[in-house]
């Protein structure tokens, strides 16, 4: 990792409120905090097919897995005390489902600056977070927002090459930083979730 900041003074955005009506069974819990205590009572823990929407992936809740934040609270690798949402790198409208195959989704993110050298890493952290959290029937496409990065094509290609991703995840130095950024995104150790 380079020690020079790609974007030393990022703009910090207010985090969004969920526009989704909150179902009764999660009302007692804040959707925007780590809802580790959220009751799973009455939830179907089986693996049956259940629709997931953008709010759930973004961080609101995710019914079969209990309420938790999926990608919004991942730490920015350059500004570790800030989340990807605070820097407007990710947002709920940037998560889209393929209308024809609901198990395929695209997660778009917006690097804070077009020369951001951390973009691959951010994309990888989103991919790993979703790999670990979503049922494995989901096939995820990760892309930088069109026009937001000077190496857009190369970035998109790399983030969606499963062999490169697999090899990156066998690199201990990279995984260490990745785990730090993901440590703020829910609690990975919570095995009750899957």
């Amino acid at each position: 990792m380079s020690t020079e900041a790609f974007n030393p003074n990022p703009v910090v955005f207010a985090t969004a409120k969920s526009s989704r009506p909150v179902p009764a069974y999660v009302k007692s819990n804040s959707l925007w905090l780590d809802d580790e205590e959220c009751s799973t009572e009455g939830f179907d823990e089986s693996n049956e097919i259940e629709e997931i929407d953008q709010d759930e992936i973004f961080g609101a809740f995710f019914r079969p897995l209990r309420a938790r934040q999926l990608i919004r609270s991942i730490s920015d690798p350059e500004h570790r005390n800030m989340s990807l949402e605070q820097l407007a790198v990710v947002s709920a409208p940037q998560i889209t489902f393929d209308a024809r195959s609901p198990n395929r989704l695209t997660v778009e993110f917006t690097p804070t600056v077009p020369h951001c050298g951390m973009s691959t890493f951010i994309g990888l952290s989103i991919r790993v977070r979703l790999l670990r959290s979503l049922p494995n029937r989901y096939k995820v496409d990760i892309r930088v927002k069109s026009g937001s990065h000077q190496s857009e094509h190369a970035l998109n290609k790399q983030l969606n090459d499963k062999e490169r991703v697999a090899a990156a995840l066998e690199n201990p130095a990279l995984v260490e930083v990745l785990e730090q950024c993901l440590s703020t995104a829910g609690h990975e150790s919570d095995t009750a979730s899957v």
Binding site: N136, R137, K157, D161, E163, A166, A167, E170
Partner: protein, 369 residues
């Protein structure tokens, strides 16, 4: 599934045991052994035998024709994923390509005699006879030439290495081909001649030959794919080369002159990246038949294409390549990607396929024609 196709694909076996994604699977060309490799860093070897059912009746005709049993696991010692494996044509040597950037060469200690029919295979241990170092980053594919005299390997370091196989597991590097501008995903040898093909993340395919008075060199670059080329398969007669890509297509290249290959077909049918191709002889080959081409990939579907050409035109003229979808199986490994598909090379078993998936299992399939 649900299609009115001329043949159907049925699962006849599931091989479990790997602890992680299975990347590749390879049939031993001379013995009844099947090898699979995985992100769990091991290679698993299976033996199989035929179930000969006497008193052939309708009821028994569709029973599985092969039964598999796990015979040994090679821990390999690779420090990272074993991405690909290749048997030498003699069936005695297994090569492993690992993300740890090395190629391992494995042989069973001699002494135990092997019976071709599948007798005592469980003899001595498989030992690492040689470790080929040289690649700087992940090795992604490895392949023996048809004579077994040459071995090719490729890596994310953008290079293709050609090794000469000497006695006693000694390998000499004959050339480092630095033609690609990105990762090299796959290497494949022509089935009869010493022509090497490589496929890359740079969207191209390159073909190489040895200049007897000089080095190995690239004589042709095929550029029609619009994204990563993941896989290559020559037709059994060597007149065609099939390539599968992240652009979701399979392209078939025809050898129109000694050193000239041209795109003869663009086959569509997959919804996601095509990760693997295998071109087998197929059953009931007619005069103009080219065999069966199997393809699979990120959509988890196995497709089998019947390949042929138009009959030769009297007085010369070009024959045309024909293809038709013969069989399809969706969700071959549940919701997981299928990383490899490969036809059984043994005579009489041209309708048997093996696949390797992200679900950590290998599966065996039979085409009912």
């Amino acid at each position: 599934m649900g299609d009115q196709l001329e043949a159907r694909i049925e699962a006849i076996g599931t091989l479990q045991g790997h602890d992680d994604r299975v990347w590749h699977i390879a049939w031993n060309p001379t013995k009844p052994i099947l090898a699979s490799c995985s992100a769990d860093k091991t290679v698993r070897l299976y033996t199989y035998r035929t179930n000969l059912i006497s008193g052939d009746s309708e009821a028994t005709a569709n029973l599985p024709s092969l039964t598999f049993s796990h015979y040994t696991t090679i821990p390999t010692g690779h420090s990272k994923t074993v991405r690909a494996i290749a048997w030498s044509p003699s069936g005695k040597t297994l090569a492993t390509a690992s993300f740890d950037s090395n190629i391992g060469i494995w042989e069973q200690e001699s002494g135990e005699d092997d019976e071709p029919g599948g007798g005592a295979l469980t003899g001595s241990e498989w030992e690492c006879m040689s470790l080929l170092e040289g690649h700087e980053t992940e090795c992604k594919s490895v392949a023996y030439s048809s004579s077994g005299n040459l071995l090719a390997s490729c890596s994310r370091d953008k290079t293709v290495w050609v090794w000469e196989v000497h006695p006693d597991s000694d390998f000499e590097c004959m050339g480092v081909l630095m033609e690609h501008t990105q990762d090299v995903k796959c290497v494949a040898w022509h089935p009869k001649e010493e022509i090497l093909a490589s496929a890359s993340y740079d969207d191209t395919i390159k073909l190489y030959i040895d200049d007897p008075s000089d080095d190995w060199y690239c004589f042709l670059t095929l550029t029609d794919h619009t994204s990563t080329v993941w896989t290559l398969a020559f037709s059994p007669d060597g007149r065609y080369l099939a390539s599968g890509s992240d652009d979701k297509t399979v392209r078939v290249w025809e050898r129109v002159q000694e050193h000239k290959w041209e795109c003869a077909a663009v086959i569509e049918g997959h919804e996601m990246s095509v990760y693997s191709l295998s071109w087998g002889r197929g059953k009931s080959m007619g005069q103009n038949d080219l065999g069966w081409l199997a393809s699979t990939g990120g959509d988890g579907t196995i497709l089998v294409w019947k390949m042929s050409t138009t009959p030769p035109i009297e007085g010369g003229g070009k024959t045309e390549l024909l293809y038709s979808l013969m069989a399809r199986f969706s969700f071959a490994h549940g919701v997981s990607d299928v990383n490899t598909v490969t036809w059984c090379p043994h005579e009489g078993y041209e309708d048997i396929l093996a696949t390797a998936g992200d679900d950590g299992v290998a599966r065996i399939w039979k085409i009912f024609h």
